[in-house]
């Protein structure tokens, strides 16, 4: 196999993976916050919030991520003129695409975070919530102080698989021109057609390096924080 392209300055492979990591981290934080709020809505005593949460999750979970990401660019930015970076900035195109992609990932991934947390709530024994009610806690106290802390500890492993899926999904940002790993690989397989397999191996290896530790580390963490019952 021919790995000459690794030393070619035209291909910033490390830089591309750094963008992938950046996309992943920002989207993960946003999805965790918005997903937790959605989960709170879906179990709340207020019907309108429950309906909204259910509708939101069922719409965005069943739409392909690719459609959402392409739509942030074509519909939000190009058609409606909603831009997430200053027009005058020299890096306007790159910044705008990057932020639109993060927005798209948050909209999509938060539905999976919401469902994970919702099922985590189900692992908390009924007695916990009943006892909290018995001592007079309100819904939000019950959720914040008693149920959520236990539920979140139970969902570390499912959230890890959501995070791994998100890491792989960030490649979709290539379709709106974010300079991350998949876009670079797509350029490289065109230009380096004699080193096709080595290019693929390098990028595949990159993603294995990114996803494997997430699974292992969070797997250990999941065992550590699990509520012993």
């Amino acid at each position: 196999m021919d790995f000459d392209f690794l030393s070619d300055p035209a291909y910033d492979i490390v830089g591309a993976f750094l963008v992938t990591i950046e996309l992943t981290i920002l989207s993960a934080i946003g999805s965790l916050i918005w997903g937790t709020l959605l989960a709170g809505m879906r179990v709340s005593p207020i019907p309108v919030m429950r309906w909204f949460g259910t509708l939101y999750v069922n719409i965005f979970r069943n739409a392909p991520l690719t459609v959402l990401i392409v739509a942030t660019s074509v519909v939000l930015s190009d058609t409606l003129g909603i831009r997430l970076a200053a027009r005058t900035s020299p890096s306007f195109l790159a910044d705008n695409a990057f932020r639109l992609a993060v927005l798209g990932f948050i909209v999509y991934t938060s539905t999976f975070v919401c469902e994970a947390i919702r099922s985590g709530i189900n692992t908390v024994p009924t007695g916990q919530a009943e006892a909290a009610r018995a001592i007079g806690m309100t819904f939000s106290q019950n959720l914040r102080i008693v149920v959520m802390p236990q539920a979140l500890r139970a969902v570390v492993a499912p959230l890890a698989s959501v995070l791994i899926a998100l890491t792989k999904n960030t490649t979709v940002a290539a379709s709106i021109g974010v300079a991350e790993a998949a876009l670079l690989m797509s350029t490289m397989v065109e230009n380096e057609s004699n080193a096709l397999f080595s290019v693929f191996v390098v990028f595949a290896f990159g993603f294995i390096v990114l996803t494997l530790p997430i699974g292992l580390l969070l797997g250990v963490l999941a065992k550590k924080v699990a509520v012993k019952r």
Partner: protein
Amino acid sequence: MSATTSVLYDAPGPKARMRNIIYTVIFVLILAGVTFWVLYTLSTKAELAPSKWRPFATMDVWTTFLLPGLWQTLKAAAISLVIALPIGAILGLGRLSDHAWVRWPCAVIVEFFRAIPVLLLMVFAKALFVVADIGTAENRPLLAVVTGLVLYNGSVLAEVFRAGILSLPKGQTEASKAIGLRKGQLMRFILLPQAFALMLPAIVSQLVVIVKDTALGSQLTIAFPELLASARTITANYGNAVATYTVIALIYIVVDTILVLLANRSQRWMSRRGKGGGRGGQLATTGAMAETELGVPGVDDTMLDRKGGPSGRFTQLRWVLRHP
């Protein structure tokens, strides 16, 4: 879920009712504000104009762009599932083999293709087919999409098969050995038929993932003319991006929702079967799934309403597979 059945809060008294009403009003106001802002933005850009939506009321747009696109999407998804199922079965059974030289390669293949984004697989497959001159210029995009989907979903389905077989009660294997069945017979006559019924909802759910992933086919160099690709031609013709993307997203959502409903139905069918033999209970107690790192035991997506239903372990398997 009515207000009185949740374990998280009591039936509201006068004070709580008042508070709930206030929260409802605030929330509705926020929703109304966002809706108004969206509609206002749309109307200032003239995206709500009837002329931009009217094309979708004519047969022309459907027969020229949308339906051919949807056909390609469904075709790619169906072909991928049909090829991925046997590959998944072989890899899944391979990982359960008694021989290390079969087990290890299968494990490496499954873990490798599960860790790599489908988009990379498709881009690579497309480039490879061009260089190696496999297929024709017309069918290469379809080949690339199917290859990517088969490699990824074959690996995921391998884990489904493995988990399904491991989740069967040990007594099944022991009884079969006791009456003198060979390994192949045990698999064919006893384990596979039972495991397949258990796996049915997971397989249907995986089809949702496959349908969603076909949308990757129109991106980058793959150039597969599926449903999302038709958006470009429609907007080029009518200049109605908002309407086009809304309609296309809705088509995907309807197709996927139908598949989700099918998955739920097959799960109910399965749990009814389970009730007679008491298998549901046994499923939940086997530790097999824990090793596959697919999720947390006992996770159930029916949440809060604890009316039984299918056992936690299998719901959890399905839940994980609903993932992107």
